[in-house]
């Protein structure tokens, strides 16, 4: 199934906005969770990189599975309900039409986006840890590099939101960055 077909079925069900929202919401969840874990290890004076990476990967996989299953189950129910209402209005079976295809495929795509967004962003955030473990020399400590990467990812998510809402991109980016900084501050305070 090509991207054109995917786009058409998303248009048919008017779920472009839902996919975008899931990407941002769960992506933000993933980035902030990674930031929290990495900051926690930083407060605890680091630790073995293997342990940090394993903890982060475990959380990333759990976020991915949670996002995938929850979005798929809820969207499947929503799409089935919408299709049943449409069939009642049309007084026809639409299961073999594009609407039927959309009811079957759109929940899968939404689930995939909701699951992959936190997973991919988490991998990006913990990539400095992997690079350090592979022997690459980083300008900062691996945990600090991961925290900086997380802040960058969260800022970019804010910029993306700003572009969607047609607001000033820098303001939107800074807003999400403030949330991340406040999170770090709370963890640092609790860790003392």
């Amino acid at each position: 199934m090509g991207f054109g077909r995917v786009g058409f079925l998303l248009y048919l069900t008017r779920t472009h906005g839902i996919v975008r929202r899931y990407f941002v919401v769960n992506g933000f969840d993933g980035a902030l969770t990674m930031l929290g874990i990495v900051t926690g290890f930083y407060v605890a004076d680091g630790g073995d990189l293997d342990v940090v990476i394993s903890a982060c990967l475990g959380a990333a996989v759990a976020l991915a599975m949670s996002g995938l299953s929850s979005a798929y189950i809820s969207e499947r129910a929503e799409r089935r309900k919408a299709l049943a209402e449409l069939e009642a209005s049309m007084m026809a079976d639409l299961s073999s039409s594009d609407h039927g295809s959309a009811a079957r495929w759109v929940p899968l795509w939404i689930g995939a986006v909701n699951g992959l967004a936190p997973f991919m962003l988490s991998l990006l955030i913990i990539s400095p840890l992997g690079l350090a473990q592979a022997g690459l020399t980083l300008p900062l400590s691996p945990l600090l590099m991961a925290m900086v990467t997380a802040l960058g990812v969260i800022f970019l998510l804010g910029v993306f939101l700003g572009q969607i809402g047609r607001t000033f991109w820098l303001l939107s980016g800074v807003q999400t960055l403030i949330i991340a900084v406040v999170t770090i501050a709370i963890i640092l305070l609790l860790g003392r």
Partner: protein
Amino acid sequence: MGTQGAATAGRLEWIKRTRLSDPPPRCALPIGLDAGSTLGPCQLPPRVQTTVVNLKRIVLDVLKPHQPDALEFARAVAACGHDYRVKLTVIEMDDKTETLQVVVEGSDVDMVQVREAVNQLGGSLHSIDEVEVHAAADAE
């Protein structure tokens, strides 16, 4: 709206073959030749006239969901042929559906494909309200 049923919504394309004459009689074998000879029975093709009836214009009453919109719907129907002209008029809007009058014109409109396109997009063909066909004799 028309009351023609599903039967009239079928393929509106008929080919009527009229045999103008019986096959020519077998040739008499020349004296001294048998049936296996290269100068055997004549196999001249029968003369056949074909009358092709082309669907030039059809007016459909269609019920469809709001999505895809009228533009996408008309495009999908027009894409069924290389020279189709489609005029779509929204007759009535309801909560989840809309009733359309779809006029399809072309040199030879394939009603089967048009119906499939309508169904694929979630539409339902209610009736055929007008039909214009042209017959053309074509000798083979």
